[in-house]
């Protein structure tokens, strides 16, 4: 099992969710987050003076998927979240030791 964590632009969330549904991902967790990357925030204007917004709003998606599905998931997110502009985000993949569905007690791949 792998945990796929992606930081994406908020307006791409619907596209990403659809793309993941289409390839059979059963569930994701979404969090509204703020942060900065190489873009280093952006500037806005208020009453004639510029100011830097250090932390941009982003959406964090977390999905735990089977080893067989992980490459497809990464590809689906990459495609759906890509606007071609700076700040599209990043995808991180890490291993997951165990998963349990609380209601039934199923574990491992069956719990996903």
């Amino acid at each position: 099992m792998k945990l796929v964590m992606a930081i994406i632009k908020p307006f791409r969330l619907d596209d990403v969710r659809e793309a993941l549904s289409d390839i059979g991902v059963q569930g994701i967790t979404v969090t509204e987050v703020k942060g900065f990357g190489r873009q280093k925030g952006h500037t806005e204007l208020y009453r004639g003076a510029e100011y830097v917004v250090d932390f941009l709003p982003k959406v964090k998606i977390e999905a735990v998927v089977t080893d067989a599905l992980v490459d497809q998931v990464v590809e689906a997110i990459s495609k759906a979240a890509n606007s071609g502009k700076i700040g599209d985000g990043k995808i991180f993949v890490s291993g997951v030791e165990q998963a349990v569905r609380i209601r039934t007690g199923e574990s491992g791949d069956d719990a996903l």
């Binding site: 806005e44 204007l45 208020y46 009453r47 004639g48 003076a49 100011y51």
Partner: protein, 425 residues
């Protein structure tokens, strides 16, 4: 005789009724100031600015009834006003009806209480101007102490010089509804406060560059501006003082039209100026432009043609944008732009009187501007200085960071969304 008395009754009642309704419109400007200021501060300082706005209104009413009105409209030698307390009784109906029709409007042609009511909402407006400029960092009670002195002495004294028949009036200074007496006076008191108070923490970086602090709620700021715009029809329209004959009714209508046109001119000029200077259509500048247009026309809303009124307002709208930028660069931190809107545009409005009112002279207007400015500035500086020495003007840095809502009021404007209480509580 009966018929003549009937006409006198009607005339008196109509002018009183007009005065009261105009006063009620001006009273609602308190709501406009409250919403405008609440929109242009940060969410963590919203409850405190609202508290200030409603309490200052109440303080102004009480102090003006106690002594302010009598200072402004009592006996004096032209420079030093007389001193008496509380309101005197209203006109005796029998005495009113005894007055002849000739010179009717020189006598008691409307209720004395309606005059007080109309005047008291003006002093509250002047004090409201101060609250926006010192927002987000001043102690609530320091502000209230100043409000007591401002509304009982500082404002009434310079008001006496003009509207009470003092030396400014004698020297031909023209100020129809108070570009100087109300608006510039409020702005100058605010300027003195801001000088002693200092900028909000974080407004200026260590290298001296400006770090803008955006307001929390643009819909509220816009609503507040529209409320002020509406209230201004009472502010200027009521200042004609008579509506009960054809000529005066036309004059009041003209004042309404010109007031409206000047605000429109101010908005359009300010938004275009902002677009040219910043590359973006800054809403807050459009709002300030509307108010600057209104302040600009307040000194003479009757004599100009509607076209000229639009231009006077438009110039006010342009000036206010440059004034805001300049004050920002001078490190005079005014979160809502009150000093620029009421001070800079107020001075412009007083000078613009010369364009349309043949009775106005440059010398008379400059004398008025200088007298009101110097008196209000020096008196305010002394009062702010005493308050600073005795109780302090600023909240602590930690309180400022957490927001003056919690520090001064112990509550928050939006407890479910912000601050220490977290969401959902």
């Amino acid at each position: 005789m009966e018929a003549l008395n009937g006409i006198k009754d009607l005339s008196y009642a109509l002018d009183t009724f007009y005065f009261l309704v105009m006063g009620a419109l001006v009273m609602f400007m308190a709501a406009g100031f409250a919403m405008l200021e609440a929109g242009l501060v940060r969410a963590k300082n919203t409850a405190e600015i609202l508290t200030k706005n409603i309490v200052l209104y109440a303080v102004a009413c009480i102090m003006y009834m106690f002594v302010g009105y009598n200072i402004m409209y009592g006996d004096g030698n032209g420079y030093i006003p007389g001193l008496s307390f509380f309101l005197s009784a209203d006109n005796d109906p029998a005495e009113v009806l005894k007055q002849g029709m000739d010179g009717w409007y020189d006598g008691s042609y409307y209720s004395g209480m309606s005059d007080f009511f109309f005047q008291v909402v003006f002093v509250a407006a002047a004090m409201s101007i101060v609250s926006g400029a010192v927002a987000e960092r001043m102690k609530l009670w320091a502000f209230m102490v100043f409000a007591v002195v401002m509304t009982s002495v500082i404002y009434p004294v310079q008001g006496y010089w003009k509207w009470g028949g003092g030396f400014l009036d004698a020297n031909g200074f023209q100020d129809f509804a108070g570009s100087g007496v109300v608006h510039m006076c409020g702005a100058v008191a605010a300027l003195a406060g801001v000088l002693l108070l200092g900028a909000r923490k974080g407004k200026y970086k260590a290298d001296g560059s400006i770090n803008p602090i955006p307001g929390a709620n643009m819909p509220l700021a816009t609503l507040g501006t529209f409320i002020l715009w509406m209230g201004w029809f009472g502010f200027n329209g009521g200042s004609e003082l008579i509506v009960s004959n054809v000529g005066e009714a036309n004059a009041v209508a003209m004042v309404f039209v010109n007031t409206n046109m000047a605000a429109a001119g101010g908005v359009v000029a300010a938004i275009i100026t902002a677009r040219i200077l910043f590359g973006k259509a800054d809403l807050t500048m459009a709002l300030n432009g509307a108010l600057a247009g209104l302040v600009s026309i307040t000194a003479e809303p009757l004599a100009p043609t509607p076209g000229l009124a639009t231009i006077i307002g438009a110039i006010g709208g342009i000036l206010v944008v440059f004034s805001i930028i300049t004050l920002d660069k001078l490190k005079l931190d005014d979160p809502v732009g009150a000093i620029s809107v009421h001070g800079t545009a107020g001075i412009w409005g007083l000078l613009a009187v010369i364009l349309s009112n043949g009775d106005a002279t440059l010398g008379g207007q400059l004398l008025g501007i200088a007298s009101i400015f110097v008196w209000t500035f020096v008196a305010s500086l002394i009062v702010w200085g005493i308050i600073k020495a005795v109780m302090g003007l600023r909240v602590t840095e930690e309180e400022e960071y957490a927001g003056v809502d919690l520090a001064e009021c112990g509550l928050e404007a939006y407890p479910e969304f912000t601050g220490t209480m977290g969401s959902g509580k």
